[in-house]
Amino acid sequence: MTEVTASERVSLGTDPDVPLLAVENLRVSFGGHEVVRGISFTAHPGRCLAIVGESGSGKSVTARTLVGLTGSGAHVRADRIELDGIDLTTQSERTWRAIRGRDIGFVLQDALGSLDQLRRVGDEVAEPLRVHGWGTRASRSRKAIELLGSMGVPEPAVKARQRPYELSGGLRQRALIASAIALDPKLIVADEPTTALDVTVQAQVLDLLAEAKAHGTSIILISHDLSVVARLADEVAVMRDGEVVEHGPVHQVLRRPRHAYTQALLDAIPSEHTRGTRLSRGGNVPQRSRRPVDRGRPVLEARHLTKVYRGPDRVDRTVVDDVSFELFGGETLGIVGESGSGKTTTARIALSLLAPTSGEVLLHGESWSTLPPRRRRPLRKRIGVVYQDPLNSFDPRWSVGRITIDALTMGNRPPSSRAEARERAVRLLEQVGLGDQHFDAAPLRLSGGQRQRVAIARALAPEPEVIVCDEPVSALDVSIQAQVLDLLTDLQDELGVSYLFISHDLGVIHHMSDRILVMKDGQVVESGTADDVFRRPQHPYTQRLLTALPRLVPA
């Protein structure tokens, strides 16, 4: 790769080939509101352009515009959109249909939702073939199996007859990519192709795209995740509020960002390097001195937790298998694992929302999970919870104020008057970075970060010693995630609360946790301090996880 000069336009200089796709001054607006504001870029054969941005940056709209599916009510203008010499700005729907799937393959995020659940995987993969009149029914189905095979799907003939929900997330994503490349398009647009995937699977999917790239396909990768981008892209365009704020070769943008926003985004990514620092508000500023962990008696203790479910087929499945841990005052215990590892079930057992099949949970050394519900209830104020999807955890009829006050009344010091309740609720909201103005708001009207703050305020209200955080930042944009993580750290320092912190994101876990449990298939495969586990992983699974982890800077 050659050096890049101070040009915003990737196509200049680097590649002698004619660009496959050229977009100039693209503007998209919905009902007068402009969401893409005059962006330009090119895509070249055998190369990958990444468009990075947070929600609302206009990256997805841009991707859809490239296949003429911006949506009804959209107003698209551009000086030029040219694919392989064809002017796309003036094409009829009929021409677009001929282009989609044949010349441009499109990979959406969330393979479960992006595949028709009611149809066979093979039919889904073969659909572009059928639509574009390729081959016969038999040859198409052979081709679909072949494509699945080439995507590394084991037993492709079997999988082709199954339906998407019968496949794992990784296989589904492969099927989706297989479908996108079925007609060997010159361009693949991949919109968040790895977002919902576990790290190990994520790595495999990125490898597949890299392979396509190596075969000369041009790729436009849409992502919110800079680490994913680092692994595949040749060039990066960073979008914010419909504009490209920075555009350049991947290493330059990621290592020497010129725009403050890019820098902030990079800073916000939690990782092993960010431990003990603040993620938000510019630069990795060191945290205030952290409160020491009280290594006396554990506030929460799990002993040999096991949970067995009997399925409708009368086969028992052990979801949590002999899990034990201790959580001390002021400490953060991270539980990391991929989907299905049993980490959420462990969290629900810890909260006594679910009874373990065997084993017990102690709160402050006292029996907790074995209590009858009536006696357990008064103790609940001592252990709070923050969920991944805060909106779902709020009664849709309740305002932020009511939610907070309801939680306050469950604490040790229930407010004695309406005025006091309101005052304390507002104080609590201020503590989590919200304020009086949010008191009467409906959670639905708040942003994702604000909602999670409300959830944290609610968890804090009864003044618990422990808060179970179940994937609390997984649904958030990276900059918001940084703020919420900072907030959690600040609160811990301030209040000395302990966190049982559950996440699939190794970076987040490393950033937050004092000690870590690595879970796989219901079992704890490795535990230890954060640094021990991450720097000197003992269990092969942990090692595999860490290898698969996409990094901004190659480790």
Partner: protein, 287 residues
Amino acid sequence: MSAASVSPAATRARLAAIRVQLRPATAASLLVVAFLAVAVIAPSVLTSGSPTTIDLQHTLLSPSFSHVFGTDDAGRDLYTRAVYGARESLGIGLGATGLAMAIAILLGFAAGLARGIVDAVLTRILEVAFAFPVLLLALLLIAIRGPSVATEIVAVGIGSAPGYARMVRGQVLHVRQAGYIESAVALGHGRWVVIRQHLFPNAIRPLVAVMTLGVGQSIVWASGLAFLGLGVAPPSPEWGALLDAGRDSITTSPWLEIMPGLVIVLVALAVTSLGRTLQHRLEGAAR
């Protein structure tokens, strides 16, 4: 675990859908309902006549300026009768739907909250109730109690209750899985508090729209009973009775049949349209 979970297009589409519902159809529906409300509360505002006044000099007049819906065999002004009939017809619609809902909520919640044997028994009862021909239920009830407004309410109400009960049960099962229920439990709230504060109001909420739809359907339904001669006693101008009275004349004095029919259709249409708008808005608000 997705960062950008809601596509902008989907959001816009939903907003657009709400806007569509708000436009002319909703406005017209509101107008009809407002008119209806006046007819129920103060029918004399809408017409100066009396629904029972006989005028044998002016029988079977076709619609004109002085009699916009025409007159019937006894010379009564059909428009006036339709206006005065609103009270009973709407009463039947509301009463029947209310009764159905009350039964449905009772049964639906019992079945939705109970487990094991109680749930199984209640579900079975609902099954039997469902398998029971609704028409027969009405026929038997009326055979027992004689035709009257109250009987029509009970007949239509009980007849439509099983359907709603199933809906309520489903709703309870659905809300039970909601995150906020678990959150409330995690906060230390007791079972009844959770049911009262969260489960009940949230399970009931979508039923408001369903109820609105039900009112329109009940009115239509009741008119069917009138056809079977199980309607209210004369000289009530209840709409089903008007429809029944006009049936023989459809080829000779069609307005006697067409006008009450249009009134029923219009009202049911307006109420249905409002109900569906409400339904969409509630759904939009819920998520």
